[in-house]
């Protein structure tokens, strides 16, 4: 089932065009990986999916992006409600400089998801468990989140993202600042999360894309060169550029 359907998406930063006619379908409860060399537009596309490009004044998005029946690229869209449904994990772990508990409880609190303290406690515990962090932090929930190790911080950010039970989670190179062990933990986590969430992940690591995703899209110079099943993209791509990139001949 299609969760998100993008049609002819063009993105401009001022007069510079960053994305050219990108169309792709993201399937529900699957991991979709976006790969490509730096500056190819994959992060820009990802940020269209939760309207984070709104933050950039000069950024203009054209085309249609539908999530279920909802048009995301519409002026009338309530971005606050959209972001409640589409969580995001960033490249550099960015927990709030507050306690671990406050980091995870922030989303449910501002969206009024818990009626009582015990309900909130439950959400925090569940989210931390899902993010495979509970065992490590359950005795120090009132410590500052930024005091954790890099990998723990990133899992805290994942816990924060899933605390509001979003249907879609966007991940922008979530492992690029982490060591291989922390990376393996996050990848394992992504595998678990796809049971309940649709995941779109931007990554520089082709092996990571191959390991975690079901669909892969290859971007180059703002264009979506090829999109399809991960296995096919990595074993038998249709396009010569894709072939070159995957085999490491450029990028």
């Amino acid at each position: 089932m299609t969760k998100i359907s993008a049609k002819n998406v063009n993105v401009f930063y001022g007069s510079k065009q960053a994305l050219f006619d990108v169309s792709l379908d993201i399937m529900d409860k699957e991991v979709t990986a976006l790969i490509g060399p730096s500056g190819c537009g994959k992060s820009t596309f990802l940020r269209c999916l939760n309207r984070m490009n709104d933050v950039i004044d000069i950024c203009k998005v054209e085309g249609s992006i539908k999530m279920d029946e909802l048009e995301l690229n519409s002026r009338k869209l309530d971005v606050v409600r959209l972001r409640e449904n589409v969580g995001m994990v960033f490249q550099k772990p960015n927990p709030f400089p507050k306690t671990i508990y406050e980091n995870v409880s922030y989303g449910p609190t501002i969206h009024g998801m818990a009626q009582s303290k015990s309900e909130l406690d439950q959400i925090v515990e569940m989210s931390l468990k899902k993010a495979a962090l509970w065992e490590e932090v359950k005795d120090r929930l009132d410590e500052i989140g930024t005091g954790l190790s890099g990998g723990q911080q990133q899992r805290l950010c994942i816990a924060r993202a899933i605390s509001v039970s979003p249907e879609v989670i966007l991940m922008d190179e979530p492992c690029s600042a982490l060591d291989p062990i922390a990376t393996a933990q996050i990848e394992e986590l992504i595998d678990d999360l796809k049971k309940e969430h649709t995941i779109v992940i931007v990554t520089h690591s082709m092996s990571q894309a191959a390991r975690v995703s079901q669909k892969t899209g290859f971007f180059h110079l703002g264009k979506l060169i090829e999109f399809g099943d991960t296995e096919k993209i990595f074993k038998n791509p249709d396009n010569q550029q894709t072939q070159d990139y995957i085999t490491g001949r450029f990028g």
């Binding site: 933050v55 972001r83 960033f90 960015n94 400089p97 989303g107």
Partner: protein, 423 residues
């Protein structure tokens, strides 16, 4: 390594050594100036914290005080006549002095001696009818003589203390009847034309009220302006224009703000002249750009990743700002605010223009009472001819410096303790 290369290398080392030397000389000079300045102020000013009294005896004689009842109430004592007994308390220092020269003795104490005699009795009503020792504030000239600030070897006609008074002084001093103790009244008295009575209470309170008014006006306005400009305003030509003007405002000479206060606050709004309310508002015009700039800088220093994290969680712009950005920027904003207030603390020119230079011999109880301020007090006293005011000027500078050091220390502590370091 060939010869040319070695030469070049030596030259580079020499250049570095020279550069270091110049830097050290610069620091040395700066410290030297500071030391000279501090020495000047402290060596001149420390004597102001000592006060001189003359000890004599007073006879609380009911008859001379014109008290007719046997058991006078406090009210009777309040209304009694003290002129005669106070006068006698002074003239008894030298009974041999012919009556027409009595003024010479009276001049040795502050003109408030009669009041001091009265207050002493009101505090201890049981002294009525007794002969008791009493200490009276010495005149500023005698005070200066006692502190050694007044040269005794200049010709008598050029001296404000004549030979006879010096003789009495020496006699009293030998008897141990000249007292010198901590000058509490310097801190509790308002300004006075008489140096021995002048204190900083009115100007200190004036400064405190001005700073509070200044804080109350400038902080909320500046912080709101900074938050709006930094977090909400669209970035366009108009906001650029505003930014340039805020920076310009910070560079406007303070006297211009004084004129504005005079022309607008006093002339148009008819606020009470010479009051800390007007002074504070005028100073807040000066402090405003400083706080806006500091607040914007510390808002800018909050990394965008925190804003993105909050926005991506579905927080509105307002929530992102109020829950995350503003709390994280507060330490920087606060220390900027204190620095701004410390600047305002030392301002003189705008306060002179709005009339806070008036002679105020009452201690203000509210921001709408007339008051002076510490820097203006320094200015007023430095204009006075009496020798007694010279040490007061330095002492007042010391108090002002102490105030400034405390505020800057507070700013430093806030910055170091609460400001987050982003890596």
């Amino acid at each position: 390594m060939n010869e040319a290369k070695r030469k070049l290398l030596n030259k580079r080392y020499r250049a570095e050594a020279n550069f270091k030397l110049f830097g050290q000389i610069a620091i040395g000079l700066a410290l030297l100036f500071l030391a000279v300045f501090m020495y000047k102020i402290f060596s001149k000013g420390y004597t102001a914290f000592q006060k001189t009294w003359i000890v004599t005896e007073v006879h609380y004689d009911k008859e001379l005080m014109l008290i007719e009842t046997d058991n006078p109430s406090l009210e009777d004592l309040e209304n009694a006549d003290y002129y005669e007994i106070a006068y006698k308390a002074m003239t008894r220092l030298d009974p041999s002095l012919p009556e027409e020269d009595d003024r010479q003795l009276i001049q040795m104490v502050a003109f408030t001696y009669e009041q001091e005699v009265k207050n002493h009795l009101l505090k201890n009503p049981s002294l009525l009818g007794k002969i008791v020792p009493i200490r009276l504030t010495a005149s500023d000239d005698l005070d200066q003589v006692h502190k050694g600030n007044y040269p005794r070897d200049i010709p008598e006609e050029d001296r404000r203390v004549n030979d006879y008074q010096l003789k009495i002084y020496d006699m009293l001093n030998e008897r141990g009847d000249i007292l010198s103790k901590f000058n509490l009244s310097f801190f509790t008295n308002p300004d006075s034309r008489e140096a021995e009575l002048a204190g900083i209470a009115s100007s200190f309170m004036g400064t405190v009220f001005s700073i509070l008014v200044c804080l109350a006006f400038s902080f909320p306005i500046a912080v709101l302006a900074a938050i709006y400009l930094e977090e909400f305003a669209p970035k366009n030509k108009f906001t650029d224009f505003i930014e340039v003007n805020i920076n310009n405002l910070a560079a406007v000479p303070s006297i211009v703000f004084g004129l504005l206060g005079l022309g607008v606050l006093l002339a148009v709004f008819n606020l009470p002249r010479s009051t800390p309310l007007v002074g504070g508002i005028t100073l807040s015009l000066m402090t405003l750009p400083t706080i806006i700039i500091a607040a914007r800088a510390s808002l800018k220093a909050v990394p965008p990743s925190i804003r993105e994290a909050a926005l991506a969680m579905g927080a509105s712009n307002m929530q992102t700002t109020m829950h995350h950005t503003v709390p994280l920027s507060m330490p920087g904003t606060l220390s900027g605010t204190i620095i701004g207030l410390a600047q305002a603390l030392g301002e003189t020119a705008p306060l002179i223009l709005i009339g806070m230079v008036a002679f105020v011999n009452t201690i203000p109880g509210t921001p709408v009472d007339p008051a002076a301020s510490l820097p203006v007090q320094i200015y007023i006293w430095s204009e006075s001819a009496e020798r007694g005011f010279v040490e007061k000027v330095s002492a007042c500078i010391m108090v002002l410096l102490g105030f400034l050091i405390l505020m800057n220390l507070a700013a430093q502590i806030i910055r170091h303790k609460f400001e987050r370091k982003w890596n």
